[in-house]
């Protein structure tokens, strides 16, 4: 039995050693020829919608919508989001109607069998900038710009051990916005010496799928005019658009967290009552 135990201990040590080596192997990659992406992990930013009582900052969402409309929407569709839901951002019904009317959508066929374009109504979704994926690819050097409706939930950099365990308790669920913010601010960094960047792509150490991506730096300081006095910087633009995209991906986040609080309080009280009942029932029974 002693032998088994010793063998076991040795096995455990070997496991721990190789485990450490594996982690080190994953971390220590060649700067010019990285094999794991992203090269840099996004920083953890502060978001108003994080945590158990998080809510969206309406002014921020409105600024984010402006950035999306004036910059991103030139290439990126957002076809799961209906104009009517923009009332969540604090706009009135009339404002939403007016906003929708700035877009043209295809409709039809009419009584003559013809397709026609008309002004969008609140029931329409954001129209796509391209007729189809082939057109989008043709206009963008072969890369289709991803639809933005779910982008904030469809991108998240792996957190690694042991952070991913702490994330359960800190309720970290903002990997998407953190990634978007980091990516938009990562264009000004220079590639390390010796790194080859493919023609028509742009170096960005935060890109999740490689060392460079097809999208060029999309936004610069002062490009979008804010009328609420918020700073007109890339950092601010990217925070605002990331928050807006989080709303677009998870429009019911606030009600979810509010409902959650009530459910947790109810269930905690209920659990307490059940526990006391259980103690009473078992009080006279040794077990």
């Amino acid at each position: 039995m002693k032998k088994i135990l010793n063998g076991l201990a040795a096995f455990g040590l070997v496991m721990a050693g190789t485990f450490g080596a594996a982690l080190a192997a994953e971390e220590g990659h060649n700067a010019a020829e990285p094999t794991h992406f992203p090269i840099l992990h996004p920083a953890q930013e502060k978001w108003t919608f994080a945590g158990p009582f998080g809510t969206y900052d309406r002014a921020q969402l409105q600024r984010g919508l402006k950035v999306y409309k004036e910059v991103c929407s030139a290439c990126h569709s957002m076809n799961l989001v209906a104009f009517r839901t923009l009332q969540d951002l604090g706009y009135s019904e009339a404002q939403v109607k007016a906003f929708a009317a700035e877009y043209e959508v295809q409709d039809g066929p009419n009584a003559e069998g013809e397709m026609f374009t008309r002004k969008a109504t609140p029931n329409d979704h954001f129209p796509s900038p391209f007729a189809n994926d082939a057109a989008a690819a043709a206009a963008n050097n072969g890369a289709v710009p991803p639809d933005m409706s779910l982008l904030a939930k469809a991108r998240s950099v792996e957190r690694g051990f042991p952070t991913f365990i702490f994330d359960i308790f800190t309720q970290y669920a903002e990997g998407g916005p953190d990634y978007i913010h980091a990516l938009l601010n990562g264009y000004d960094q220079q590639p390390p010496a010796g790194m080859e960047i493919a023609e028509g792509t742009h170096y960005n150490p935060y890109f999740i799928n490689g060392k460079s991506l097809a999208m060029a730096k999309p936004i610069s300081d002062g490009q979008v005019t804010y009328d609420d006095g918020a700073p007109q910087t890339v950092d601010q633009y990217s925070r605002d658009v990331a928050a807006f995209l989080m709303w677009a991906a998870e429009p019911h986040l606030e009600i979810r967290k509010q409902t959650g609080f009530r459910v947790m309080v109810f269930m905690l009280l209920f659990a307490g009552l059940i526990y006391l009942t259980k103690r009473k029932v078992w009080a006279n029974v040794a077990h």
Binding site: T85, A154, A173, M267, V285, A286
Partner: protein, 434 residues
């Protein structure tokens, strides 16, 4: 169901009328009210009840989701998003269902581990254990097909990879794969049949659960001492004793469930599944749902040919073997003593097994390269050695600790003159702990 001596006596006229024609109330009374359970069951034994609750919750949320879901490759992804955005409380239903699947698996893993720890599979409970293994297999099939339905990138590529396993089987492999897919690749026919089966299998699970509970009520529950019930003082009535304890277990489990649903609903999912399936774009890393990761690690651990078996078939055999071995556990364990509480060495190897299984899960989420492969091979070796070497050999050479003579004796020893033995005994005694 409980040993044939029913204590049910209907009090009303309607009750007697019913009892003479179809004694359903008698069945319920005998199974869930007067049914005797060992008095020393701990909270690990509440997971059977928790699992029944989770199955019911999954079926209920699933039926409502199916009313809004469109099983067509061109509509599936959008219909799920419509549920998330436009259906009243649709986000809640869907998050309950997707996280519910994970919670279901957490509960089943605790339940299985409890069985392994207390030797719940040993005679006369072999069939009970095997029925449980069948439920687990059905759960895995259901979970896998359910994950395909939202038609995201991981749905599509997961389905491609997992159905691809079957091509490793000689002669009939390709035919099986085409039968599963309804074609040569994952496409609309695949989605249609997976949806039909995803709706069917839970009801099959419910059927096997009935058999599982039936078998349980014939042989009775085990308990942490592993000693069979010998006298009336060893047991208490299911209601109220087990009912209230199960209720408390369920509500605490429900708290964990709610925490995930309301605060981190996407924590257990993969971000890529929020990208619509694209057969032309392979994700960087294809990983299954977390609850399959240990088996995925075992699959990828076999990177070498074994005689005429190539590494691909070897991996598939190892993966299926890792589940198949569970069916033989009642005969692999040679120990005369059931409970690990009295088996110091088995206890050690059991906890190593648990740690190893979690480690395998983590390896399953890593790319199959470098040291990870070697680590997965070592872990796979321990996984199989636990069942095929440690279990049979340890039972023969291990000296167990002294067993108490009965459950009652064990309880008394633990409490040392605290509360009285019999539930209907003295009334004024100090409360014992939890």
């Amino acid at each position: 169901m409980s040993g044939g001596h029913s204590t049910y006596s209907p009090k009303t006229g309607l009750g007697r009328w019913m009892d003479a024609r179809m004694p359903l109330p008698r069945l319920v009374h005998d199974s869930f009210v007067s049914y005797p359970v060992p008095r020393n069951l701990n909270y690990a034994y509440t997971f059977g009840g928790i699992l029944s609750l989770m199955l019911a919750a999954q079926i209920l949320t699933g039926i409502v989701l199916a009313m809004h879901y469109a099983n067509d490759t061109s509509l599936a992804f959008q219909s799920v998003e419509k549920i998330m955005r436009d259906v009243n409380s649709g986000w809640l239903l869907r998050y309950l269902h997707s996280n519910g699947a994970s919670m279901f698996f957490i509960a089943v893993y605790v339940h299985i581990m409890r069985g392994l720890y207390y030797g719940s599979y040993k005679a006369p409970r072999e069939l009970l254990w095997i029925l449980g293994c069948i439920i687990y297999l059905l759960m895995m099939a259901t979970g896998f097909m359910g994950y395909v339905l939202p038609w995201g990138q991981m749905s599509f590529w997961g389905a491609t990879v997992i159905t691809g396993f079957f091509t490793a089987i000689p002669v009939v492999g390709d035919w099986i794969q085409q039968l599963l897919l309804g074609g040569f690749s994952v496409d609309n026919p695949t989605l249609n049949r997976f949806f039909a089966l995803h709706y069917l299998l839970p009801f099959m699970i419910a059927g096997v659960v009935v058999l599982h509970v039936w078998a349980l009520h014939v042989v009775g529950q085990t308990n942490p001492t592993g000693i069979e019930v010998k006298s009336k003082t060893d047991v208490v009535a299911f209601t109220p004793y087990a009912t209230i304890k199960d209720a408390f277990g369920m509500i605490v489990f429900g708290l964990v469930f709610a925490y995930f649903v309301f605060y981190i609903p996407n924590y257990l999912g993969h971000p890529d599944n929020y990208i619509q399936a694209n057969s032309l774009k392979t994700p960087a890393h294809i990983v299954p749902e977390w609850y399959y990761l240990p088996f995925y690690a075992i699959l990828r651990a076999i990177t070498f040919n074994i005689g005429p078996i190539d590494s691909k078939l070897g991996g598939v055999l190892a993966m299926f073997g890792s589940i198949a071995v569970l069916f033989f556990v009642p005969w692999l364990d040679t120990s005369k003593v059931r409970s690990a509480a009295y088996r110091p060495w088995y206890k050690l190897f059991f906890w190593l097994f648990v740690v190893n299984a979690i480690f395998l899960g983590w390896l399953g989420s890593r790319p199959a390269e470098g040291t990870y492969v070697a680590l997965a091979q070592m872990s796979t070796l321990y996984y199989f050695a636990f069942f095929l070497i440690i279990m049979p050999v340890l039972g023969l050479i291990e000296t167990p600790r002294r067993l108490p003579n009965s459950i009652t004796e064990a309880v008394l020893e633990k409490n040392k003159g605290g509360a009285p033995v019999h539930p209907t005994g003295a009334t004024a005694s100090p409360e014992t702990k939890g």
